[in-house]
């Protein structure tokens, strides 16, 4: 049995037809991957919302492609977790409440302008990649292969956003500087207390530490943001230094009680009957999935 900081690290997952125990490592991996997948989930919906603000047809198409990638990565991680943890398919997308999401808190405030959108999306993309890349050389080969594939696509997200950030007006640069002051600390603290014990690193599933991920994130963004905003690198670094607040939830990587705003959640998982009707039905839906014959439709799971 795995032990973390003196706590019993076994969680019991109960379903109506099955029951099994989740090891501490499984649970830590689930929590970490949910932080990444949920952030990509929200970010993908940002791209969909912003898509029509593109300046040209290829611009709009590029945003659509980025949204498709982000949502694709989200669902690939959801499928991996559902398969490994024995959860019913689509439970992670359709069977959770907003309060159960592990999304990046900085994405809960909608973009206020074009500059704010670019800075926030760029910071989120860099943070997601750096956290993902800690699994790149890890012992979990299925996961590391998936991360490698994601990385090939995410590079172009960052490059595209970098290109857009360096082609902004003076007014938009002002917006980017303001955005960095507000969003920067919230994204930087996503890496949490990098000195804390790391079960995944100890188990070899994560080959790089959170500390190296955080410093890699800083290295990735400082020069690009300096060029885009005209700020000095030291000034940007100072904005990205942030201690975790007292009410920090290290499992969800955000403040306790912080949830996705209702309007954003309704956009992600619509409940309005007209919107649900207009949405393309899932090829394999939660309701008619044949696999559910052998498994519980929903299982109670503690995601925290």
């Amino acid at each position: 049995m795995d032990e973390v900081a003196g706590q019993t690290s076994r969680a019991v997952v109960r379903g109506s037809e099955w029951e099994r125990e989740m090891s501490g490592t499984d649970k830590a991996l689930m929590q970490e991957l949910l932080c990444i997948a949920d952030t990509d989930w929200v970010l993908g919906h940002w791209y969909i919302k912003v898509m029509l603000n593109g300046r040209s047809l290829p611009d709009c198409t590029a945003f659509a492609g980025m949204g498709q990638d982000s949502l694709g990565h989200t669902r690939a991680i959801f499928r991996l977790l559902e398969d490994r943890l024995g959860l019913p398919e689509h439970q992670l997308e359709f069977g959770r409440k907003p309060s159960e999401l592990h999304d990046l808190e900085a994405l809960s405030l909608p973009p206020q302008n074009w500059g704010d959108f670019l800075v926030t999306a760029f910071l989120a993309e860099c943070a997601v990649w750096r956290l993902l890349s800690t699994f790149l050389e890890g012992s979990d080969k299925a996961l590391s292969g998936m991360v490698k594939h994601f990385g090939k696509e995410l590079y172009f997200h960052r490059l595209g956003l970098e290109g857009w950030m360096t082609a902004t007006s003076d007014e938009e640069q002002d917006d980017m500087r303001q955005s960095l002051a507000i969003r920067g600390p919230t994204v930087a603290r996503w890496f949490g207390d990098v000195a804390a014990a790391d079960l995944l690193l100890d188990a070899g599933i994560r080959a790089a530490s959170l500390e190296s991920a955080r410093s890699g994130f800083i290295d990735d963004v400082v020069d690009v943001l300096a060029q885009a905003t005209g700020l000095e690198p030291t000034e940007i670094q100072s904005k990205l230094r942030c201690e975790c607040p007292d009410d920090w939830d290290s499992v969800r990587r955000k403040c306790r009680g912080a949830t996705v705003p209702p309007t954003l959640w309704e956009f992600m998982v619509p409940t309005d009957p007209d919107t649900v009707t207009l949405r393309r039905p899932l090829a394999v839906s939660v309701d008619d999935n044949l696999d559910l014959v052998d498994r519980a439709e929903y299982s109670h799971t503690d995601y925290a």
Partner: protein
């Protein structure tokens, strides 16, 4: 939800065009896929990858349209003084 109050008009006509090429197989030809217009090379690379992602290309490259050297041209009678 906050309202976007500032909108900056962008003159996309000033953007450069980039031609996009890709290879589907290692020993296959380099196809011309189309073009993108972007304010700089980084944005053009990002756009090309996102826009022309319909196949798992083994190679993709772009070049500024302005740097393409014409050999036979619809606009110029090359070789005729």
């Amino acid at each position: 939800m906050g309202l976007v109050t500032q909108k900056t008009a962008r003159n996309t006509m000033d953007w450069d065009y980039f031609e996009v090429f890709a290879r589907e197989e290692l020993d296959g030809p380099l196809f011309h896929l189309g073009s993108v217009s972007a304010p700089n090379r980084a944005a053009a690379v990002g756009q090309a990858r996102m826009v022309y992602s319909e196949k798992p290309w083994v190679e993709m490259c772009i070049c500024p349209r302005a740097e393409v050297i014409p050999v036979i041209s619809v606009n110029d009678m090359i070789g005729i003084a």
